[in-house]
């Protein structure tokens, strides 16, 4: 079990863009990361879009852990991108800073012409077939939680898996077990990728 940090916590400054389509759980994912950061004693500011855009269209949310109280992240400054759909990933890549990292739910690698630019900008794309894994677990609805587990295995997302698990336990009122399984599955896949050093699974 990770200890809650004694006060004052280390200042963390992390900007995360989350993207997907309506119904994929972008807002739930944002809340999961935000609540976890708060449990670690960090201030958070997140921004999301409601209303018309929720009827199946593109959904983006911005999350700042520590740092500025401006709700939006400027293009070229985000540390991380979590994308639940490959096209939404590409659309939001310009938010990443040089050296930023994208965690993407995708079966295939991104367009080759994009990859070229990413190399130049030292942006790393880590993909995982999270939708397929979610279906295997029993519901496409936990795709987002699998991707969070996957990202949590990487050192660039400094949210301990134990704290994420605790937050998810309180947030997932329906299908709690399935959600927790999804978090583990994503986390294990991420750890395996770190060990093998392989970009693809």
């Amino acid at each position: 079990m990770n200890q809650r940090p004694s006060s004052p916590p280390d200042p963390m400054e992390l900007k995360i863009v989350l993207a997907g389509l309506g119904g994929q759980g972008v807002i739930f994912t944002t809340r999961l990361l935000a609540q976890t950061a708060v449990a670690l004693g960090q201030p958070v500011m997140a921004s999301e879009v409601h209303g018309m855009s929720q009827r199946g269209g593109s959904v983006v949310s911005h999350l700042k852990i520590g740092g500025s109280k401006a709700p939006l992240i400027r293009r070229g400054t985000a540390d991380l991108l979590l994308a639940l759909e490959p096209n939404e990933a590409v659309r939001n890549l310009p938010f990443l800073r040089r050296g930023g990292i994208a965690f993407v739910n995708a079966e295939n690698s991104l367009q080759p012409e994009v990859a070229e630019h990413l190399e130049r900008l030292e942006i790393q794309v880590l993909s995982l077939p999270a939708s397929r894994m979610a279906m295997e677990l029993g519901s496409i609805a936990v795709t987002n939680v699998i991707l969070v587990g996957f990202a949590a295995a990487h050192s660039s997302l400094p949210l301990p898996i134990d704290t994420l698990r605790e937050t998810l336990t309180t947030m997932a009122r329906r299908r709690r077990e399935l959600n927790l399984q999804a978090l583990e599955a994503g986390y294990r896949a991420g750890c395996r990728m770190q060990e093998t050093g392989s970009m693809r699974l």
Partner: protein
């Protein structure tokens, strides 16, 4: 003390509950809708007595809150910015008549706009109505501003406006919650009769106007000393300074850091009446001052000398659209560069951005949900009346009927009915005989559809009005309507107001209630309705398309599931995709055939009629066919 992640609208609600607000009314509208739900959440959590209601419209909501304030209780009313247009009449009058208990009016502005018909600035409405404004920059500040807002309202006997914007309403921020707050008792107050004050005649109104002007001068003097207005960074520049308010403030502060410069920054928390003395002191000695505010110019407009000011009025700041971090940075970079400063280049990579743009990634447009009964209604009326029909519509999910070419006009709440009347009268003059079929949702009809319907009946207009009754206010998150048996709380005392009864009481003689899922029956009722509207003794005909929203109440759908398949013979003509526009019907990129996306299909079976060639069939039928 415990920290929680709280939605901006809920932070406002938390402030209201903490400050002893006793009556909160609202009409739902993005981005304001979660304020009332937040009040209910926190009043329960802190065991406070607060009356809440979803009123039929913003004018009604405002007047209920005003009466509560006149008894001496603290009251608040929440709405989206265009709702303040509807409530403008009582707002302007209340500024003259004044308040007793504090009255906080909360109109949420929508720069962008993301889900509104205009980008109007409620602060300019306040300026015109002469009502003081608090302009928070974050959820935390919105919560904290509730206390000074109530205090000011009570000290000066004035309604005040707390004005959030979309980015604040839908931001989530970590806030400290203190569970141990003692309950405050409901104050011992009662309405004191004073007709010369509460029912002032025009001569008295002149006196009240003079008094209001005097109050505003005192409020301005108070705002000069208010801790809500402060210089946040002194800066080293003597040439450039920045004044910012609302969400633009933190974005500007961040942008200044990123540009690598040091300029003085004045945060304005109370943009009206503008604390002139404070602003004048800040501006003295600076060569240029940039004003950053949303969505329009309110601070800038009040500056007596704008010869050294750059903002929206001189064209430096774009006059439309959301004030993104990129836009704010670009404005500041331009002004600073003009003044001879060297600034850091933008952090984004234009090559990557251009490449992503050149890929022309598919943009999923919003559309009505699979199984939505509005789609069935629109499809039926198009089939029955053809593409020449004039189709005035209204505000709600069904505005997306524009995707099916079933919506010709959308003006404001209730306009479908009056626009239909206007088209009828104009067409009569020019000899245009095309059918006119108007559509309006249940909540919108109850909000502003009744008066134009009375008007249409009385003036002998002839058209068909379809009331799309999905039993809820779906677009904004399923708030109850007056035609339901549900209230914001304590639903056991709710009385259902029947839409059909209301329509009949307006004098409409053709009123039919029908299920749009029953295509043939529904179409024949539409035809009869149209015939009535054209008959010598006829007039306005109303059809109530009665089917609950599939997201809100899927039970009728679940009682009669009709899974479908697209059979082999499908030739990929794309008619169903174009004319029915269900997200679950997908035309293959090579246009060879249409597939059902079973991940999102809800098995309503409504698309069976959408293929006139008969290639979409019920699943059992197809299986039987194979077996045979």
């Amino acid at each position: 003390m415990k920290y929680e992640v709280v939605l901006g609208n809920e932070a406002i609600a938390l402030g209201l509950v903490e400050q002893g607000c006793r009556i909160v009314t609202a009409y739902p509208g993005t981005p304001s809708s979660e304020i009332l739900a937040g009040v209910i959440k926190y009043k329960k959590r802190f065991a406070r007595r607060v009356y809440t209601e979803w009123s039929v419209n913003e004018k009604v909501a405002f007047e209920i809150a005003l009466a509560a304030s006149w008894t001496g209780l603290r009251a608040a009313v929440a709405m989206k910015q265009v709702g303040l247009n509807v409530a403008a009449d009582p707002l302007f009058s209340a500024a003259y008549l004044g308040v007793k208990g504090g009255l906080v009016v909360i109109p949420a502005d929508d720069p962008g706009p993301y889900s509104s018909q205009t980008e109007q600035d409620s602060r300019l409405m306040a300026l015109s109505a002469k009502v003081p404004v608090f302009d928070p920059a974050t959820p935390a500040e919105a919560r904290a501003m509730v206390a000074p807002a109530f205090a000011l309202s009570e000290r000066f006997g004035l309604p005040v406006i707390l004005r959030p914007t979309t980015r604040l309403c839908h931001a989530r921020q970590s806030l400290a919650l203190d569970e141990t707050q003692p309950d405050t008792a409901i104050p011992v107050v009662k309405f004191r009769k004073d007709p010369p004050r509460w029912a002032a005649t025009p001569r008295m109104r002149y006196q009240l106007h003079v008094a209001l002007n005097d109050k505003l001068r005192q409020v301005e003097a108070e705002f000069v000393r208010s801790p809500l207005n402060y210089v946040v960074d002194e800066g080293t520049s003597d040439r450039i300074g920045v004044i910012a308010s609302g969400v633009a403030f933190h974005t500007a502060r961040q942008a200044i850091l990123e540009l690598g410069v040091s300029v003085p920054l004045l945060k304005i928390g109370t943009p009206y009446p503008l604390p002139q003395e404070l602003v004048g002191r800040f501006m003295a000695g600076l060569r240029t001052v940039v004003v950053l505010e949303e969505p329009d110019a309110c601070i800038e407009l009040q500056l007596p000398d704008r010869s050294h000011v750059r903002g929206r009025l001189d064209g430096t700041v774009p006059a439309a659209g959301e004030f993104s971090p990129e836009a704010i940075s670009a404005v500041l970079a331009e002004v600073l560069t003009d003044a001879g400063y060297k600034v850091n280049p933008p952090p984004n990579d234009p090559d990557l951005q251009n490449l992503v743009r050149s890929l022309s990634l598919p943009v999923r447009r919003p559309s009505m949900c699979p199984g939505c009964a509005h789609r069935s209604t629109f499809f039926a009326l198009k089939r029955e009346f053809g593409p020449q029909t004039i189709l005035p519509s209204d505000i709600g999910c069904y505005t997306l009927g524009i995707n099916l070419r079933a919506v010709d006009t959308c003006v404001d709440m209730g306009a479908s009915v009056s626009m239909a009347t206007g088209f009828y009268q104009a067409n009569r003059l020019v000899g245009d005989t095309r059918p006119i079929i108007a559509t309006i949702g249940d909540s919108t009809f109850l909000h502003s559809g009744l008066e134009p319907l009375v008007n249409a009946v009385h003036t002998g207009a002839r058209f068909v009005l379809i009331i799309l009754d999905n039993h809820t206010t779906a677009m904004t998150g399923f708030q109850p309507t007056a035609a339901s048996e549900i209230l914001a709380e304590d639903s056991d005392i709710a009385r259902k107001v029947k839409i059909a009864d209301l329509v009949r009481a307006c004098g409409v003689t053709f009123v039919e209630v029908a299920d749009p899922y029953e295509h043939n029956a529904f179409r024949s009722i539409l035809r009869r309705a149209y015939d009535h509207s054209q008959a010598p003794e006829g007039g306005v005909a109303v059809v109530i398309a009665d089917r609950p929203c599939v997201l809100y109440d899927p039970s009728p759908l679940h009682q009669n599931l009709t899974p479908v398949v697209v059979i082999e013979e499908c030739d990929g003509c794309g008619y169903c995709v174009e004319a029915f526009e269900c997200p679950a019907l997908v035309l293959r990129p090579d246009k060879s055939r249409v597939d059902v996306d079973y991940k999102i299909c809800v098995a309503c079976g409504q698309c069976i009629d959408a293929c006139y060639k008969g290639f979409i069939v019920p699943q059992e039928a197809e299986t039987e066919g194979v077996e045979r």
